[in-house]
């Protein structure tokens, strides 16, 4: 019903209240409880906030997002609310401050309706790594919604909110968007402050939205974006909006990465859709050319070496000593650490901490971390070189459609879910997954565009154009 902000606004213009809108979503959340998208619903609070915003609308003092109901991934800090990164180690922990991105949404009168399930500490591609249970894909409930922002994807796909917020370290927004038929946008690294985002890999993490329209993606991202004194790695300018420009026929230069198109694991129907899209664009007079990106095999290993290194350090603060879950019956500081961390972290998180600790350790640092940094630089340079010639790069988001819950057992197989998405995180570029097709198996899938550094407007404009062409 309220699948976009425009639909919510037109309902409000026709006499619906924000309280009605929130009540609608709350009813849907209750009805879809079994998909387990939410870890917590801020029910009473959302209704109260809706009443305040209804009053503001009457007085014409409402913010840009009045009427927008948003769910946030459970790795975003929200003052006096629990935040757990879907980990037992933070079970019961309440944040004492609010993430910049969340604060900015609230400032514009968005209603935060609850916190959304995800893979523990955003590590995973299926949402099966949540300590509080997995999430079902609302399109086909025996399938995974993707990950790590699986709850965010499932909630929006099931119509439980107007938009949702996720985070993307190696594809954690785009892959689940692809699996659930949504738009999933990862802005340029640093566009949105990371202050208040529970870190997985600091030099990769980026917050972004799940939406049903490009307009909503542009609006929500712009509200969250811009400089923040609390994040020195964020962009240094204020951002007010990302205007969507009209794309003229024959004006685009699109490069499609032939190595992706030819990659073995790519589902033939996705390949076909990609080829069709290329043809449609050509027919519209645009320049569409194959480009070579010969580092596909290096992508996932590089990503895992560097992200696990950062993660092993980022997750050192979870000891149970200062906050979070403390193991019972422990003596002495060392046992406290060992037991709290062993009991508190799940298997995937422990595996990545171990891996990261290893790649940073004395004697291995150069072979792994330093080398990883060098390869990352090469991937960055090559990506930017291609984008100096093309407006965007076109590639699949995922090799396949959503898989069965429990269907991927092999870790490497699971990690290869990210093969097309990690490039944008390694390079820092903005990237978006657009719901471009439905497979004969009934599941949606996305195509991905990678844009130029800090050119979100351009990328979003081309995305809107491509979505229109599809129809």
């Amino acid at each position: 019903m309220y699948t976009s902000f425009d639909k919510v606004k037109s309902a409000i213009d026709n006499g619906t209240t924000v309280v009605d809108v929130v009540s609608h979503y709350l009813k849907q959340i209750e009805a879809k409880k079994h998909i387990h998208a939410f870890l917590e619903v801020f029910e009473a609070e959302a209704i109260q906030k809706a009443q305040e915003i209804d009053a503001k609308i009457k007085n014409n003092t409402a913010g840009k997002l009045a009427g927008m109901v948003i769910g946030i991934k459970d790795n975003l800090a929200y003052k006096n609310h629990k935040v757990s990164a879907a980990s037992k180690i933070l079970e019961g922990f309440e944040s004492i401050y609010t993430a910049t991105a969340v604060e900015r949404l609230i400032q514009e009168d968005a209603i935060i309706i609850g916190r959304l399930n995800c893979d523990e500490f955003a590590m995973g591609s299926s949402n099966e790594n949540s300590a509080f249970g997995n999430v079902l894909n609302p399109i086909q409930e025996d399938k995974v919604p993707g990950g790590s922002s699986g709850g965010s994807a499932a909630a929006l796909a099931a119509g439980l909110c107007t938009a949702s917020i996720g985070s993307d370290t190696g594809g954690s927004i785009r892959q689940p968007a692809s699996f659930t038929g949504l738009i999933g946008f990862k802005p340029t690294y640093g566009t949105i402050s990371r202050y208040g985002l529970l870190a997985y890999a600091s030099s990769f993490d980026q917050i972004g939205p799940f939406t049903n329209t490009i307009k909503d993606a542009a609006l929500i991202t712009a509200v969250m974006a811009g400089k923040d004194e609390y994040d020195g790695t964020a962009i240094q300018e204020d951002i007010n909006e990302f205007p969507i420009e009209k794309i003229e026929k024959g004006s685009l230069k699109v490069g499609y990465i032939s190595d992706c198109l030819e990659s073995k694991g790519l589902n033939p129907e996705i390949k076909t859709k990609l080829e069709q899209t290329i043809q449609v664009l050509k027919k519209e007079g645009h320049t569409v050319e194959p480009v070579s990106f010969p580092y596909l095999d290096a992508m996932v290993p590089t990503y895992y070496v560097l992200t696990t290194a950062e993660a092993s350090s980022n997750l050192s603060r979870y000891t149970g000593v200062h906050f979070g879950r403390l193991a019972d019956n422990v003596k002495g500081v060392e046992e406290t650490y060992k037991k709290s961390r062993s009991e508190g972290f799940g298997e995937e998180v422990k595996k990545r901490i171990m891996l990261g600790t290893f790649v940073l350790s004395h004697g291995y640092y150069d072979a792994y971390y330093t080398k990883g940094q060098k390869v990352r630089r090469i991937i960055q340079n090559k990506t930017n070189e291609l984008l100096s010639e093309y407006d965007v790069l076109l590639l699949p988001t995922t090799p396949d459609t959503a898989f069965k819950i429990g269907g991927v057992k092999d870790a490497i197989q699971m990690y290869l879910q990210d093969i097309f998405t990690v490039q944008a995180n390694l390079a820092g570029n903005p990237a978006i997954s657009l719901p471009m097709g439905t497979h004969s198996n009934g599941l949606p899938f996305g195509l991905q565009l990678i844009g130029k550094h800090q050119k979100e407007s351009e990328l979003l404009s081309i995305s809107a154009y491509l979505m229109d062409l599809k129809q």
Partner: protein
């Protein structure tokens, strides 16, 4: 432990010092929490200091400038492109599980600190590096009998670590080195240098070897020396201990030792083999820093005068003795006061005498610092000048004018002298009258004086001072006395 001089002389010690200095910035290194000593526990703790989930460090740029100033003062090379690194280890007073520090790109490299050796020679102690980092919180083990308590007020306080080359030869040089470093940070106003409160701390790396040997002994790190005196004592103890061990034919294990100031000894804390692998890597939450030459030049322009510069100036230009110069530069505030004085008088020696004499006595008696001394340097210079003109004597100045100035701080010394009728009467006519009286009243003594008993001069001067009510200028009065008696 006793060591014969003979055995001691067979060995030489190799000492390198690591000095940690807490920066006197208003706020912490990576948060806006106040950087204060002595606040109630865990009151200067924002989510950033607590290392709460999702927080990021927020660079305090003042720290960078403080570190650069120290680098300039020590003639270091300032690194143009630097980044921070994480040093990973688990400890309850380190809430993030890592310390933000600098690893491969310290802000300063090279440079030196000049010290005096045991025999008074000047020696340059090279610096390896100066880097920026954050302090940890404090683990308190002695309040609660069952638990260790943690105070995170200190967590995130900016530090610089000044690492010397292993060029320090004995405990006296170490003492002089730490004193010199402390003097520098105080002159630069970047650290209060208070070792008792821990705002300056020193670790020592010590080894011994036979004199002339090319092979270094294994290195022992000594920690927990909370005064410069303790640095000296700990090093002295450790050198002796190591020599005795070597003499016994024992190996010195490479380890960290704790200095116990009460027992005056060092004891093993942990072995270096069991040391942490700190897994340093570039801190991804902070942007790299670029320091431009322009910025360095800008800081150079606002550098305060440093002790070595002032020593040169006082001994070479103002012609003071080394002793006086050293006394003055010993404390920055005293030196600054002296700078004000000499800006207003040309009698540098006189200014130095007053500063190290009456003023120092006043400070000692009242247990106050020079910035609490009531009279300005300019006023004190005026007093020195007044004496130089011969209008008042030194004794009138110190016994009469100075006490009035202390309570009447705005009044000029010549006004005080004039109002109280203390201006010296150097008029020969009035003095001559008194001298005639003295000659008439002391015929016997006059005879003896004329016969060569010059000691009697004191007696006559005393009488003359009495008759003139102290206003006679002793110098000219003395000359007139002997002239009139002997004529």
């Amino acid at each position: 432990m006793e060591l014969s001089k003979e055995i001691r002389d067979k060995y030489q010690a190799v000492i390198g010092l690591e000095v940690h200095a807490q920066m006197l910035t208003q706020s912490k290194a990576y948060s806006s929490d106040a950087n204060l000593y002595g606040a109630a526990p865990n009151t200067l703790v924002s989510p950033i200091t607590l290392g709460h989930p999702g927080t990021l460090p927020k660079m305090n740029k003042a720290t960078i400038d403080y570190a650069i100033k120290m680098g300039i003062a020590c003639n270091c090379d300032i690194t143009e492109n630097q980044y921070f690194a994480r040093k990973n280890y688990f400890y309850p007073d380190l809430p993030k599980g890592y310390q933000i520090t600098q690893d491969t790109t310290p802000i300063c490299t090279g440079g030196m600190v000049n010290i005096k050796t045991v025999d008074g020679q000047t020696k340059q102690i090279g610096l390896t590096r100066i880097h920026m980092e954050e302090d940890a919180g404090k683990s308190i083990h002695d309040i609660d009998p069952f638990n260790t308590l943690v105070d995170l007020n200190r967590a995130g306080v900016p530090l610089i670590e000044i690492v010397s080359e292993p060029e320090i030869a004995d405990s006296t040089e170490a003492y002089n080195y730490v004193t010199a470093v402390r003097k520098l940070v105080r002159y630069l106003d970047i650290c209060d240098g208070n070792m008792e409160e821990g705002s300056m701390r020193c670790d020592a790396n010590i080894s011994v070897m036979l004199k002339g040997s090319k092979e270094f002994g294994s290195k022992v790190e000594v920690k927990n020396m909370n005064s410069i005196r303790n640095v000296k004592n700990a090093i002295e103890f450790e050198i002796t201990r190591q020599i005795i061990e070597v003499e016994k034919g024992n190996d010195i294990p490479s380890e960290t030792r704790n200095y116990d100031a009460i027992k005056g000894n060092t004891t093993a804390m942990r072995s270096k083999e069991a040391a942490n692998d700190y897994r340093f890597f570039p801190e991804p939450d902070l942007q790299p820093i670029r320091v431009t030459q322009e910025h360095i030049d800008k800081l150079k322009k606002v550098m305060p005068p440093l002790p070595e510069f002032l020593f040169e100036k006082y001994t070479q230009t103002l012609k003071l003795s080394d002793y006086d110069a050293n006394n003055i530069i010993d404390t920055k505030e005293i030196a600054l006061y002296f700078e004000t004085m000499v800006a207003h008088t040309k009698n540098y020696k006189g200014a130095a005498n007053w500063l190290m004499g009456e003023i120092k006595s006043y400070l000692n008696e009242h247990a106050v610092k020079i910035n609490e001394f009531p009279i300005s340097g300019k006023q004190m210079a005026a007093l020195v000048n007044l004496i130089d003109t011969g209008k008042i004597s030194n004794s009138i100045a110190s016994q009469k004018v100075f006490p009035v100035m202390l309570v009447n701080v705005d009044k000029l010394p010549d006004e005080i002298a004039a109002e109280n009728n203390w201006i010296l009467d150097a008029n020969e006519d009035s003095l001559a009258g008194f001298i005639v009286e003295i000659i008439n009243e002391n015929p016997d003594e006059i005879e003896r004086f004329r016969a060569g008993d010059k000691k009697l001069m004191g007696l006559f001067m005393g009488q003359l001072m009495k008759k003139s009510k102290g206003k006679a200028d002793p110098k000219s009065a003395g000359q007139l006395l002997s002239k009139m008696i002997l004529k």
